[in-house]
Point group: C2
Chain length 482, copies 2
């Protein structure tokens, strides 16, 4: 689940606005210091086919990688063996217990006043229906307010359909996350949720829900935008639709999984770490190509390329393919937990989890432990107020200027990632990899998240940028933040 914030201001324009935060001397200017090395890395990575070959294997031969599934196990073993075979350092599996949620068979149908199939996908972590399914009249609402106004009398025993307007992923996904429990609190027996997308070809989008404690757990499924719109029109016409939902979905306890880790050890300060990666698990539809296989393969290949170029930074540069982001975040949590009190060892954490469309640059944020992270979405400040953070941002913009030739020099204030959130919450400077975000949410969590949607050029660019950013942050004389 990537951040939704975007900035299109150029690094150069921002530098003009930030004279006080700019580096004090040429020696402190990482762009000047690393121009030649960055050129070597870019020159190699921008023609490299390795990330594509890896992504093709992962998506085509292994396929989707749901937590607790054979696909994820196979993918973990394959990456582990591959990293060892490449001679990367510190290659290891960090054991993580993950939920084993199983979809099973599922379907939905309109039973009156017409009869037809409803293309659907059960929401991740949903319970199933009774064996005979659930059949009930459908109450259509556009918002939580509308549902609450109906009250228990009109909702009890019904299937609630959330058919909101599309207001972007961040606002629309609320109904997927919370709809089941809000409706259950009023006595609903199941929910159908408009897929969290702006464009649709009758494509349902799955994704996790969160059940609240204290209310009954009811089955929940995503329906396509087309059918959410149809339900709205039928309701507006005064027609009551009755639907049936059948889901075998169930949580089968926990399973063994692992974060896959590889490094290039630091030459001077190996105990200081720059970590980068994405989440290795996916939903059980499509191939998890954009979400988030491409990021894992880009980060891995970035390390591979640095090793092949013989570039060893001062600090340790580590890649982690985090497990089980989609339905537990247990990979990210386990990674943080294993650090214990040593979280200060982490100089920076970079997450790529917005797919692999054309890269724009990076987002950056840092949180004093105990305070809220910056959020552009929530109307937070466009620039950091803390002087250390402002200096770090200026440094990152200098590094970002190395990507000007591939139109990806933007470094904006704000943004992190789910897997690195247990680190950034404790003060580790966090970065997200920023994309144009043009079609990502059309594919996200669907059967259509497949490698045919990935551009090899964009994947090479992402690989190149992770290699340069990771290397520079790990090698520059001073830490990004004091």
């Amino acid at each position: 689940m990537p951040s939704q914030t975007r900035s299109f201001r150029s690094a150069a324009a921002l530098a003009l606005l930030l004279p006080l935060a700019a580096p004090a001397s040429a020696e402190d200017d990482p762009a000047a210091r690393y121009r030649e090395t960055a050129g070597r890395i870019l020159g190699r990575a921008l023609v490299d086919e390795g990330a594509w070959a890896k992504l093709e294997h992962l998506t085509t031969r292994i396929g989707h990688r749901l937590s607790g599934s054979p696909g994820l196990e196979k993918a973990v073993a394959w990456a582990h063996e591959g990293m060892k075979a490449e001679g990367l350092e510190g290659v290891r599996l960090q054991g993580v217990r993950v939920p084993r949620w199983v979809r099973g068979r599922e379907w939905a149908r309109v039973v009156s006043p017409v009869q037809r199939e409803l293309p659907m996908l059960g929401l991740g972590m949903s319970i199933g229906t009774p064996k005979e399914g659930v059949t009930a009249p459908v109450v259509v609402v556009r918002s939580f307010e509308e549902l609450t106004a109906l009250g228990r009398e009109k909702v009890e025993g019904k299937i609630v359909a959330f058919a909101p307007d599309w207001e972007g992923y961040g606002r629309t996904v609320r109904f997927r996350s919370s709809g089941a429990s809000v409706a259950a609190g009023l006595g609903a027996v199941a929910v159908l949720v408009r897929s969290a997308t702006g464009r649709s070809l009758a494509t349902p989008h799955t994704g996790a829900l969160d059940y609240d404690a204290g209310v009954p757990r009811i089955p929940a499924a995503a329906i396509a935008v087309e059918d959410a719109e149809w339900l709205r029109r039928m309701a507006a016409a005064g027609e009551t639709v009755t639907a049936s939902l059948f889901m075998e979905a169930r949580l089968e306890g926990d399973a063994d999984s692992a974060n896959v880790i590889a490094e290039i050890r630091g030459s001077e300060r190996p105990d200081e770490i720059v970590v980068m990666g994405g989440h290795y698990d996916s939903w059980d539809v499509g191939q998890g190509a954009h979400d988030d296989g491409c990021s894992c393969m880009a980060a891995w290949q970035a390390l591979t390329i640095l090793k092949e170029l013989g570039l060893r930074p001062r600090r340790t540069l580590r890649v982690v393919l985090w497990t089980s982001e989609e339905n537990s975040l247990n990979g990210g949590k386990a990674y943080r937990a294993a650090l214990g009190t040593d979280v200060a060892s982490h100089v920076a954490a970079i997450e790529m989890d917005g797919g692999c469309e054309r890269p724009v640059g990076f987002g950056f944020s840092v949180t004093k432990p105990g305070t809220a992270p910056p959020s552009r979405r929530g109307g937070g400040p466009a620039e950091p107020e803390d002087p250390d953070a402002a200096r770090a941002l200026a440094t990152l913009r200098e590094i970002g200027s190395l990507f000007d030739a591939i139109d990806a020099a933007s470094v904006k204030w704000g943004g992190g990632g789910a897997d690195i959130s247990p680190l950034t919450r404790d003060g580790v400077p966090g970065m997200l990899f920023d994309m144009v975000g043009e079609y990502y949410f059309d594919w996200h969590h669907t059967h259509a998240d497949t490698i045919d949607k990935v551009s090899p050029k964009d994947l090479r660019r992402a690989t190149a940028m992770l290699a340069v950013m990771g290397y520079v942050l790990a090698d520059m004389p001073g830490r990004l933040m004091p």
Copy 2:
């Protein structure tokens, strides 16, 4: 199935190229003669909500309209009653026997080397599988040539997957139409066909197949572009995929259906007819909104508006909602058959069957009986060689100029429609309604062909243009063609 040819030359530019074919005097210039009347029609139709209200009822309350289904029966009765209630003339049902093909339950799965669902739609008119389904290794080909080169030895007992490159609808749809019989001729037990679309969100597209006589009939299903691409990648990697296909599809004989007809009778020459319309049936997925409900509602509303404006042309202007275009063309054939030797009564036939995106104008063609119709796709001439046809085209371009203000003044040489093909084959001048064709084939024959994809503005424009073109052709002093 609309024509694929498009012309973007303006009528004005073409008029300059055709001085000899231009009307000889202002009196013969239909644009001058009908400018005021056309203005009245456009002024009314471009703010009219009637077609939208009709389309909303048809798609939302009735839904899809497969030949032989309750939905089509309901739609026929609703239009018949509605036309009578509006006081249109000659409102009647023309009985037509249509095939009753039933999809039944269906699914496809990959069973090795991975296990997963394959989103699919059985092809229209396909037979079903045995009760236990069909399970076999998949042979992946990109072309008929590749399949033929493999020969019976490598195809017998296998499922053939046609995974061609996208070369536009006209070329790619061959595999849907003919793939089953070509593969059956080499001993295949079933076929999977890449959906005939350029863009996909894991959306399978149905549509009719044609079984050849003399080879076994085998079950056939469309798969999504994503899975066709995946099968190609697996084959390229040397992996053999085994799949299972289950389809209950069956042809349940014939059913009663009807063409729905309404008219405004001609004031001077009522036995001369201008006919316009679209096909009223659809596939059994989505709502048949673009294919072809919008056209039927636009044509019907065009007649409604002319009646409300009190405009009665010299000749009869007739609207026909043809039945069963998708899987038999029996509506168009029955309409032609009922004319007997009187086909010369038809001055022109206008079909709208390319969805309701932004209108561009019209296509026109006329065939001397016994000769092939003009085809731009097949590299035919860009302008008619016959002087009568050239004069008619010039006249139509004059009429088309009345649509300049809504950027829809193009009238190109070439194009007709499936429903009117039994008429145009016998010499009736034929016209297609021409659209930009930007997204039509993304929605075509899918669950996503729904009213949320239709722009009310485009529907008003189409209605207005059919009203003007139909009225002028029916009213102008001379016939379009001698």
